[in-house]
Structures are given as C-alpha cells and as structure tokens.
Amino acid sequence: MAEAAVESVTTDNNTHGQRYELSFERPASDTLLVRLAGSWRLENKLPPITEVQQQLESGAAVAQVRLDTTQLSAWDTGLLTFLAGLYTLCQERGIVLDKAGLPEGVRKLIDLAFAVPPQKDTGRRGELPPVLARIGDATLKLLHRAPEMIGFIGEVTLSLGRLFRGKAQYRRSDLMLIIQEVGPQALPIVSLISFLVGMIVAYMGAVQLAQFGAQIYIADLVGIGVVREMGALMTGIIIAGRTGAAFAAQLGTMQVNEEIDAFKALGISPMDFLVLPRILALIIMMPLLVLYADIVGVLAGMFVAGTTFDIGVFEYYQQTARALDLRHFAVGISKGTVYGILIAIAGCLRGMQCGRSAQAVGQATTSAVVTSIVFIVIAASLLTIIFQKLGI
C-alpha cells in the first residue's frame, strides 16, 4: 500500500546510551511489519507486548506478522521474552508469524522454546485449591500416615520374628558399629545433661526443704525424681535428637541414592538389613544409658548437697540408699527402654518414608525428632499413670 508509513516509534535510553527502537509498518493491509532496532537487552526496560497487541487490534485485520531486525545491534533474553509473547499472541489469534526476519540464533531459541508443547494434565496447574479442599487433603494425608506407621511396626515385628528364628539377614559388624555410635559415643552429652538436671532438681528441692530444716531429704527427692522419671526422660530426648535424627538422615540419604532400591532389587530385605540392627542397638543401649544417667544425676545431687548444705557424701549415700530400691530403677529403666524402641521406630520409619531429594532428607530428620519426642512424652505420661495405679 502506498501510505506504508512508520506508525509509532518507542525508544528508551539505557545507561550506556544505547536504546531500543520498536516501530510498526503496514506494507499490506493484512500484514504488520514489526521493526526491532537498537539494543534489545533486559536492562533497556523493554516495551510490553501490549504495544503490538494494540497494533493488531487497530486498523484492518492482520493475517501475517513479519519481523525486521536488520538494525538490531544487541539482544538477550529480553528480546526472546518479547518474541515469545508475540508468538503466543499470534497463535491465539491464528495469525501467521514469519520468523524469517529474525537473526538465526534468536529464531532457533524461539523454535526451541515452542518445540515441546506445555504438558497439560500434569495435575500441577492452576491456583491453590480452596481452603476446605486443602484441609481435606491434609486430613486424608494424615489418615494415610497412620496405616503406614502400623504397617511399619508390623514389618519390624516380622523382622524381629526372623531374628529369633535366626533367619534375619544382617551383618553383626553393622550392629556393633551402630551400638558404638548409639551408646558409648553418647556418654559425654548424657553426662552433661544428666548432671545439670540432677543439680536443678537438687536446688529446686533444697530451697523448699531448707524452710523446715529437712535438707537431708534432698537425697530422696533427687534419687526418686531422677531414677524414676528424669533420667529416662532426658536420655530419651537426647537420644531422639542425636540418634533418631541420625537414623532418619542415614536411611533417607540411602533412599535418595537408590541404595535401598538396590537392596530390594537383590531381594535383601532393607527391614532386616538396615532397620533391625538400629532397633536392636537402641534396645540394648538405652537401659545402660538410662542407668548411667541415673547415677550421674544422683552424683549431681550429692555435689549440690555437699557444697551448699554441708551434707557429707556418706550421709547422702545412706539417705539415697534408704530412699531407693530396685523397683525405682526397674521403673526408670523400663521407661527408657520403651523410649528407645519408640525413637528407633520413629527414626527408621521417617528415613524409609523419605522422598528423593535433599530437602526430603531434612524433612525426614526433623520429622523423626518431632515424632520421637511426641511419642516419648505420650509414653511417659501413660507409663507414669500405669505404674502409679499398679503401685510400683
């Protein structure tokens, strides 16, 4: 057409003085020529695609869009996003986009971007579902987890059954290594925490008992408090944070590395080979750790009584021996053993459920510790009530 004229020019300066230019021409009534010149870089604050849209909507219907980039001096992703928008715009309107005018690199990249159509039914599109649906989903997930846990406990039981029949496939050296990690290597932290908790109990009690001159009963208070309750509880919480987390992280990482699949593919049960030794190690070591924590706790009480209230070591020992008998130790240690089993199950369960990413390992670890501690506190309450009712 004769009045083929430049209809609009948009430019903008960038810091380097280079600018982009966008202009439109109508060489024919049904053809829009888009002229791109200058520097089309992200930092040039490029125009929105709506400028082209306005051109397409004004005047005669456009059947073909052509591009002229002969004056283009520089380009980057900025140009590509603009062209991708143009491409989509043309597709929506059934307009032919003639890519011949583009530099070869740009044309190839655009082809690349649209070579694979977007996957539609991935189930990941769309906005967040409504609140009610999300609550429902979360509830269903929670409901699904309960049977998983029960199933896991069942598998652990079967695995223990195989152990007693001598059929479980695991390596004794693994068990020994885990026992070492779980037990002796935990002694420093268990010592520290038990000593401090013993001291806290002693001081708290001493302040009250001193009011009526009964300081010697610190021994009873500390002895019974630590041996029946605190020793096992504190050890449980330390081991949950230390060993439960380690179990989840180890098994989770093995899940990520396909190591657990490798066991399954060979027909070796990961329950026997990985979970069983971990549970055994905690069943064996927890009672010993609790006993150790009890002794350290009582010593802490003795230290406080001796330094603050001048109660002699022998006197304190006598009083403690009068207050405690084996029953109390049995209660504390059996609680500790239960905590140990719960920690091992929670740690291994979360590890085995772990997804296949680094983030999933982190979640598994967190979840193992949280689950263990919740289990421990619930078990502590239940067992305390049961033991009270039984009069032990």
Binding site: P117, Q119, T122, G123, Q169, D174, T253, M254, N257, E258, E259, D261, A262, F263, K264, A265, L266, G267, I268
Partner: protein, 257 residues
C-alpha cells in the same frame, strides 16, 4: 496365569510386557505398553527425559507394581507370582542404578560380597576370589578396600556393574549407564556391556537416551513418547531411524533429518 500371545512365544521371548500401564496415584505416566525382549537382546528403553523410562525399569525389576497389565519372565507372570517366587526371580536380575547406588557404608569388596554371602554358600576365601575377579572385570582391581565416596563417578558406575554381575545374572538392567560419564568412559562401558552379553549370554535392558550408545549396542528397543503417554515404536533402533514414526526419527537423528 494368562497365556503369552503366540507370536511372541516364537521369538524366544525372555521378557514380555503386556498392556502395561504405569501410574503414580491418578497420574498416568505411560499406558498400554506391549513389547517383547528376546533372549540375548540388548534392549534399549528410550525416549525423551521424563517420559517414564526409569519408571518402566522399576516395574521390570520388581520395585513398583503396575497399575494395570502384566510383566512375564519367560512365561511366569512376575506380578502374579508368590512373594517367594518373586524373590527367587529377582536373584536372576542384575541392576545398575543410575547413580551406581553402591552401599555407602560398605567398601567395594563388601558391596560385591554382600549378595554373594546372602545367596551362596561360599567360604570367605572363595568370596574374596570372586570379588577380586568381578572388580578386575570392570577394571577396578586393587580397589577392594575403597569406600564408594573415595572413588570417581565413573568408577562408582563400574563398581555398581561389578555388583550387578555378582550373582551371574540372566538379565542385566542398566539405568542411564552413561549419565555423568565422559565420552570415553561411556564408550568403555558400552563395550563392556556388549562383552558381557556375549560372554555371559545375558539379556540386557538399558535405559538410555545416549544416541551413540543406542546405535552402538542396541538391537531392539521401545520408544516411550511423553506426549501421547504410550510407546510409539518398538524394534531395532537401526531400522527405526530409517522407517519409524517421525517423532522417533527426529529423536534418533537429534532432529536433524
């Protein structure tokens, strides 16, 4: 047990997949897969990334149950078999996982010794001999006492292969054997696969999208298409490149034809 279709029996089928549909929950990965792997084949499972190649492998080696359809080994329906029989069948599989999947807490020697110790009644000396031999076969003699984290990725792959071969498997499965390897290591692995097939007489199933490997070793294949969510070709990749579905041809020629 359902009968295996007749035309597949004639081809000395080793693995037969029938109407297999794979899904994670409601999300279907691939549907209606039907193909046969003949004894002694080097069978390539190919397709673009994310089309479900590795998932198909997991179905074949018994790690994931199909949503629908059957997998036959000879004429035994794997997913309908009793657990004991499944375990027995799995012992005939050797699997090389994508990352090698060596057990990180065990040395290379222990990694290979573990399946041997589990399933064979061998003396420690004999196990040691077998382990050394398997490591020597993959060019890792002398690395017995190394832990997986102490060797390179390519060596881990080869050690994984040594472990996969520990029980003299009938079928070797490879998940992306050349992923993360330089071209020469990758080529060496291909040669090794060919040699193993010839010398052990094993059937080999390889998941890969490495064109060089596909043509160098494959004599049968299936092509999974992520768009239509099903297989669109099966056969010798050298034939498929001549006269296949356009998508397959584009894939096999890297889109250059």
């Amino acid at each position: 047990m359902a009968a295996v279709p007749e035309q597949q029996m004639q081809a000395e089928a080793h693995i037969t997949v029938q109407d297999l549909t794979m899904a994670y929950g409601d999300f279907v990965i691939q549907r209606d897969l039907t193909f046969t792997v003949r004894r002694g084949d080097i069978f390539i499972i190919m397709g673009g990334s994310g089309c479900g190649k590795s998932t198909l492998l997991r179905h074949l080696i018994g790690l994931k149950a199909p949503a629908k359809g059957e997998v036959f080994y000879d004429d035994v329906n794997f997913w309908r078999a009793e657990p004991d029989e499944q375990e027995h069948m799995k012992r005939k599989f050797g699997v090389l996982f994508q990352s090698g999947a060596l057990w990180s807490s065990l040395t290379l020697a222990e990694n290979i010794a573990l399946p041997l110790g589990q399933y064979m009644d061998l003396s420690p000396t004999r196990i040691h001999e077998v382990v050394s031999l398997k490591l020597a076969l993959v060019g890792l003699a002398g690395f017995e006492e190394f832990y997986p984290s102490e060797i390179s990725g390519g060596m881990q792959k080869r050690a994984g292969l040594a472990r996969a071969m520990a029980l003299d498997p009938d079928i070797l499965f490879f998940d992306e054997p050349s992923a993360g390897l330089d071209p020469i290591s990758s080529r060496r692995l291909d040669d090794l696969i060919l040699e193993l097939r010839d010398s052990l007489g094993a059937t080999v199933v390889v998941v890969t999208h490495e064109l060089a490997s596909i043509f160098a070793i494959g004599n049968n294949s299936v092509f999974l298409d992520p768009e239509s969510k099903t297989m669109i070709a099966t056969g010798d990749p050298k034939d498929l490149v001549e006269s296949g579905n356009p998508t397959v041809r584009t894939f096999l020629t890297r889109g250059e034809s």
